[in-house]
């Protein structure tokens, strides 16, 4: 058992819901409302010094009654100790948790991926939008258990929506590295970049 779990229980009391051990890894379940405070303490306390955020991911279990878990994998580079922190989000409440981007800048894309795949909203995230699927993707959140493997739309509708997307609009000007040369771009490209992909896809014309 990782001694950090006991220290956490002394420090935060009832905010630490439960501590378990699995495959020699200590798992700490904490109160979702205090996750940022607890992770900030784990990062900055000199005795803990979990300064590396390895991954953020989420788990939805097959049993419908079980809550969705957000998993934070921490690692102390100095002490060479891992710690897994989990937050449970019941499905009958809004799936929301505080963003940890203020603590680790690298959490930006990790939280975007969890949002994209599970639909969990990270409060305070600077740029919470889809990262793997495109921005106008309308079928839902693919890693949820109620998501059909082949998606919700027919294949032809999926192809239509994909072909009607604007590839440039997946990215911001900064990501494309063309923010400085914006005024030299062709007018139609500037228009697409201004609009982004947030606009509606035109409804199909004709009988279909």
């Amino acid at each position: 058992m990782n001694p950090s779990a006991e220290t956490l229980q002394r420090q935060f009391g009832s905010a630490i819901r439960r501590v378990t051990e699995s495959c020699d890894r200590t798992i700490v379940y904490v109160d979702g409302d205090r996750i940022r405070e607890i992770l900030a303490w784990l990062k900055d306390d000199p005795g803990e010094a979990y300064n590396y955020l390895v991954d953020i991911t989420a788990v939805e279990y097959r049993e419908a009654g079980l809550p969705i878990e957000v998993v934070y994998e921490l690692f102390s580079l100095g002490r060479k100790v891992p710690l897994r922190v989990k937050v449970t989000l019941p499905k009958d409440q809004p799936l929301e948790v505080d963003s940890v981007v203020p603590l680790w800048a690298g959490a930006d894309w990790l939280e975007r991926e969890v949002y994209d795949m599970f639909g969990i909203t990270f409060r305070g995230h600077p740029d919470l939008r889809r990262i793997l699927m495109w921005e106008t993707y309308a079928e839902g959140f693919p890693l949820r258990k109620d998501f059909p493997l082949r998606g919700r739309f027919s294949r032809s509708e999926q192809v239509r929506q994909a072909l009607n997307a604007h590839p440039e609009a997946h990215y911001s000007l900064g990501e494309l590295g063309i923010a400085e040369s914006y005024h030299e771009l062709p007018e139609d490209m500037r228009e697409r970049l201004r609009r982004g992909e947030r606009g509606q896809i035109a409804a199909p014309k004709g009988e279909r």
Partner: protein, 206 residues
């Protein structure tokens, strides 16, 4: 993108009012000889098939024997779009734009099971065969195809080009997307994307 619908070139149709004579057939032979022996590929490598394509291009299998050693990383100077690997829906508009930017005459090779049919990726994110997005001339089976398989596909494409005639205007018509933004009718796309083989019995959680 485009709004004009044009018929696909179909085999067995009367292609010209002028009967082929000695001059046009000799000109066809010359043009097709030049075209088929200098196909510049536009590699669209997305997965492990691209590794086999690189092996095909390297010295042991030596794609330059067929006049294809000049990889064209600009679609403006390419003749053959070679899709090596699975195509996610997010890349579908990208490959369509590359295809639209290539000058006529142009051909497409679909390399591997995933590019040709979706392969093992019968899921929410993958195009079930790139022929629902761009017209395909040669399908190369395999997962991934060995370099010999790809070379055989290239030889088949050369054979196809040698059979073309300049009198057929349909081969030079740009095949644009229709007003729905699709290449094929929706029911044809659904039919092409149907699960097949083992995948009917696997993971039908939908």
């Amino acid at each position: 993108m485009g709004v004009i619908t044009k018929p696909e070139p179909s085999a067995g149709r009367v292609v010209s009012q002028v009967s082929p004579n000695w001059l046009t057939t000799r000109l066809d032979f010359l043009v097709n000889w030049a075209r088929s022996n200098s196909m510049w590929p536009m590699p669209f490598g997305t997965a492990c098939c691209a590794i086999e394509f690189m092996a095909t291009a390297a010295s042991r299998y030596d794609i330059s024997r067929f006049g294809m050693e000049r990889m064209s990383f600009s679609p403006r100077q390419a003749d053959v779009l070679l899709c090596a690997g699975r195509l996610p829906f997010k890349l579908a508009p990208v490959i369509r734009r590359i295809y639209d930017q290539m000058p006529q005459p142009k051909w497409v090779i679909s390399m591997g099971a995933c590019a040709s049919s979706g392969g093992i990726f019968d899921n929410y994110s993958m195009v079930q065969g790139i022929d629902t997005v761009v017209p395909v001339d040669v399908y190369v089976p395999g997962c991934p195809p060995r370099p010999e398989g790809l070379l055989y596909g290239i030889l088949l494409l050369q054979k196809k080009i040698r059979g073309e005639t300049l009198a057929d205007p349909a081969i030079r018509i740009e095949q644009t997307l229709d007003e729905r933004g699709l290449r094929l009718a929706p029911d044809r796309i659904d039919e092409l994307s149907e699960p097949f083989g083992n995948s009917i019995h696997q993971t039908r959680s939908a």
